[in-house]
């Protein structure tokens, strides 16, 4: 899993809680990398799972809450880092439709053989979008948090119907998004 997901997670913890909380969850998660993450590195995704669990234990927050917060944080960071790319998208649907292109370029430029998450979209009509998420890692709730932050950014009210295909490994889900 790409290091940027780890650094983004730790930044979120520092913002929501404190730098000490970052130290604490690293110290208590027994990480092979010892928490020395770099955005361009690659790390086993179980380290992120451990960090999330440890944070939940230390803060008493539910896993879903943390993951949802994490998804929203990823959205804002992504937007901040690539403003030139995303600012051209005028609506939430526009942004979601261009997501796959962005992810492909950003990941494949450094890691041509990486297994990546994919985000397929299909406009059902002007107000409905089918957003299909596939990933080797099961982070469905993170995606939900990401989507909610996106709607909030565009000041859009939307309803989501999630159909989780529950594959044996990783994640595969259809989000039917209906603008209100």
């Amino acid at each position: 899993m790409k290091g940027i997901f780890f650094t983004t997670f730790l930044e979120m913890v520092e913002q929501l809680y404190s730098a000490n909380m970052v130290d604490d969850i690293i110290a208590k998660s027994n990480l092979p990398s010892e928490g020395a993450y770099t955005t361009v590195g690659s790390y086993h995704h179980s380290e992120l799972v451990s960090l999330v669990h440890t944070l939940s234990t230390l803060t008493g927050e539910s896993l879903n809450y943390i993951l949802s917060q994490y998804g929203a944080h990823i959205f804002h960071e992504l937007f901040k880092l690539n403003a030139h790319f995303f600012k051209k998208r005028e609506t939430a649907f526009d942004l979601l439709e261009s997501l796959n292109i962005y992810v492909e370029v950003e990941i494949l430029k450094l890691y041509p053989n990486e297994r990546m998450p994919s985000f397929q979209t299909k406009r059902l009509d002007t107000n409905r979008l089918l957003f299909t998420y596939r990933s080797p890692h099961a982070f469905l709730v993170v995606i939900e948090g990401f989507l909610q932050a996106c709607f909030k950014y565009y000041n859009t009210s939307a309803q989501m119907v999630v159909h989780d295909h529950k594959p044996l490994n990783g994640a595969h889900a259809d989000f039917e998004i209906i603008l209100q």
């Binding site: 000490n20 130290d23 690293i26 010892e34 020395a36 770099t38 361009v40 590195g41």
Partner: protein, 599 residues
């Protein structure tokens, strides 16, 4: 949290940051290495591609050189074959021409005519093949020069009139009144295009006419030529193949001496080479019109250009004919001269009625072949012209070579009846009509026959330098027929020896390829030895390539006569170069580049 705990946390963070930095550096190092190796591979690939490009280019250059060499070989082969075929053809055509001039039985005349006609067909085929090969190899160069449209068209129509009058077809040219007199382009190639298309039109027309119309095109600087016939037309399914090499309109064409199918292919290629367009429209059993447009008009818009036809706005004219077709065609020709009025009369009564109403400047009558009826008509015309001498100023007969005025004492009798009397020989061209109306009709008045013309020519002393015995006989026979004194020598060296003692010659005809000393070397020596002696030297050659001919002119010859030598061409050349006038001109400007006399 005490201070030591804080320091410990900071140390841990520092450790994590350092470790992360080291990992990032390692990653950077790995990626740099990957990039380096990828670059190396790319460079090697580029180098090998460059090598491949060089190798392929060399292969292409070599293939191109081989193709060019093959092309040159083909052209040389064709030129050599053309030369080799022309030399014996010179013997056949020359001897047949001489034979035709001797005392022969009617059957023998037909047989000699057949030999001559088939030899000329063969010659035209050789010319076509050579032209096509040069066109295909882009080796045909155009000459850009000014030329007089009316003169040019008249000359072309004169040469084609033989076929037209043999088939009793009307052959006319109609030049629109707004066409300029002087055009700019390759007149010889225009002649070739027109000869091909008009020749074709005459070939496929059994009765009626072939008309050449010349007008301005819708596109600036382009002149449009239309060749319309009343022939059999072209079937729809043959239209697309018309301009392809060896294409024939009908399968039976091959067996009825209708040509090789090269003419239209050459014509189209020539038109394209001259940046023009060509096309055709046709209706079965009604006729065909071939058209082409060429950029022959001068570009300077500010210069007021003289028009080809001088308008005659004061002239009133009556056409007398019993053929509506002839009447219509002549009417159309006269219209372009912008006459004051033109009437067509199909009988003498109508003429009489017309001239009782008002006076006319011209009565143009088109008599048919001599029959009893026409004999009467002619007599009636005589008396009409006599009675109304004051109401018709001029009278002109438009007649073909084979048509003779049927009055008892010949057409000269008309002189007694009309104020001014002319005979206008067909083909009637706008130039002839214009000259007639502007009182320049000297040419149109009388034309001497061949024998008279030969007698008119001054007797010249001509030196022929030629090694081939048959060609010596031909040259001797033809020149003697034209009434000249001939001296024949075998090669250039003998000619130089002769000239050292005797320079009484008026003209030298010089073969090019001869043993001991060829024609080019001999000419150069004559020019350098006798710099103040402007003797015209004409190359006598079977080499048709323009570059060869240019070389002969450069060596000091005045013009080229192509083998096989034809009587008319020889006569024309001698008239031009053998006359005193030519010698005077020559004395002022010796050895200038001169036009090639034969095509």
């Amino acid at each position: 949290m005490d201070q030591s705990d804080a320091i410990k946390r900071l140390q841990q963070r520092l450790y994590r940051e350092r470790k992360a930095r080291q990992e990032a550096e390692r990653l950077l190092e790995d990626k740099s290495r990957e990039l380096y190796y990828t670059n190396q591979e790319l460079r090697q690939l580029a180098e090998s591609l460059e090598e491949k490009v060089v190798q392929r280019t060399q292969e292409l250059v070599s293939a191109r050189d081989t193709a060019l060499k093959a092309d040159r070989a083909k052209t040389n082969f064709l030129a050599t074959m053309s030369h080799e075929i022309r030399t014996p053809m010179n013997g056949i055509i020359g001897m047949a021409t001489l034979l035709k001039g001797s005392q022969l039985l009617p059957d023998q005349i037909r047989q000699v005519d057949t030999i001559l006609n088939t030899s000329l067909s063969l010659l035209s085929l050789i010319n076509d093949i050579l032209d096509l090969s040069r066109l295909n190899a882009d080796r045909l160069e155009l000459i850009q020069e000014e030329f007089d449209l009316c003169q040019h068209i008249s000359a072309i129509l004169e040469t084609l009139d033989g076929i037209a009058s043999q088939k009793q077809l009307e052959l006319v040219s109609i030049i629109h009144h707004d066409v300029p007199a002087i055009l700019y382009g390759d007149s010889a190639r225009l002649r070739q295009i027109l000869t091909n298309l008009i020749g074709n039109a005459l070939k496929f027309t059994k009765q009626g006419y072939t008309a050449l119309r010349i007008k301005r095109s819708k596109h600036a600087q382009m002149l449009r030529f239309e060749i319309e016939d009343s022939g059999c037309g072209i079937p729809e399914d043959r239209m697309n193949d018309l301009f392809k090499t060896f294409s024939q309109i009908r399968p039976e064409d091959q067996h009825n001496q209708s040509g090789t199918g090269l003419g239209l292919a050459i014509t189209q290629k020539l038109v394209n080479l001259m940046h023009g367009k060509i096309g055709v429209y046709s209706e079965l059993d009604k006729g065909t019109t071939f058209w082409f447009e060429l950029p022959l008009l001068k570009t300077e818009a500010k210069v007021v250009q003289a028009l080809a036809l001088k308008p005659c706005p004061e002239i009133r004219c009556i056409i007398l004919t019993d053929s509506p077709l002839q009447g219509r065609l002549l009417f159309e020709q006269l219209q372009q001269l912008q006459l004051k009025s033109i009437e067509i009369a199909f009988d003498l009564k109508t003429v009489e009625k017309l001239i009782q109403q008002q006076t006319y400047d011209w009565l143009l009558s088109i008599p048919q072949n001599c029959t009893d009826t026409q004999w009467n008509q002619c007599n009636q015309l005589h008396s009409l012209a006599q009675r109304f001498k004051d109401r018709i100023k001029h009278l002109a007969h438009l007649t073909g070579q084979s048509v003779y005025c049927p009055c008892p004492n010949g057409s000269a009798n008309f002189k007694h009846y009309a104020n001014d009397y002319h005979i206008l020989h067909k083909p009637v061209t706008p130039l002839k009509l214009s000259q007639l109306f502007h009182n320049e009709g000297v040419q149109a008045n009388t034309q001497p026959n061949d024998n008279e013309k030969f007698q008119q020519q001054k007797r010249l002393n001509i030196l022929v330098v030629e090694d081939n015995k048959v060609n010596q006989l031909v040259a001797n026979g033809l020149l003697a027929r034209l009434g000249h004194h001939v001296t024949i020598l075998d090669n250039g060296a003998k000619a130089l020896t002769e000239l050292a003692e005797n320079r009484s010659f008026d003209l030298i005809l010089m073969d090019v390829q001869m043993p001991v000393m060829g024609g080019v070397e001999a000419t150069m020596k004559i020019r350098s030895t006798y710099a103040d002696w402007p003797i015209p030297i004409l190359a006598l050659t079977a080499n048709v390539l323009p570059e060869d001919q240019e070389h002969y002119i450069q060596s000091g010859m005045n013009a080229c006569l192509l083998k096989p030598i034809q009587l008319k061409e020889l006569e024309k050349a001698i008239q031009r170069w053998g006359s005193t006038q030519s010698l005077e001109v020559l004395a002022q400007a010796p050895a200038q580049s001169a036009p090639v006399l034969t095509e």
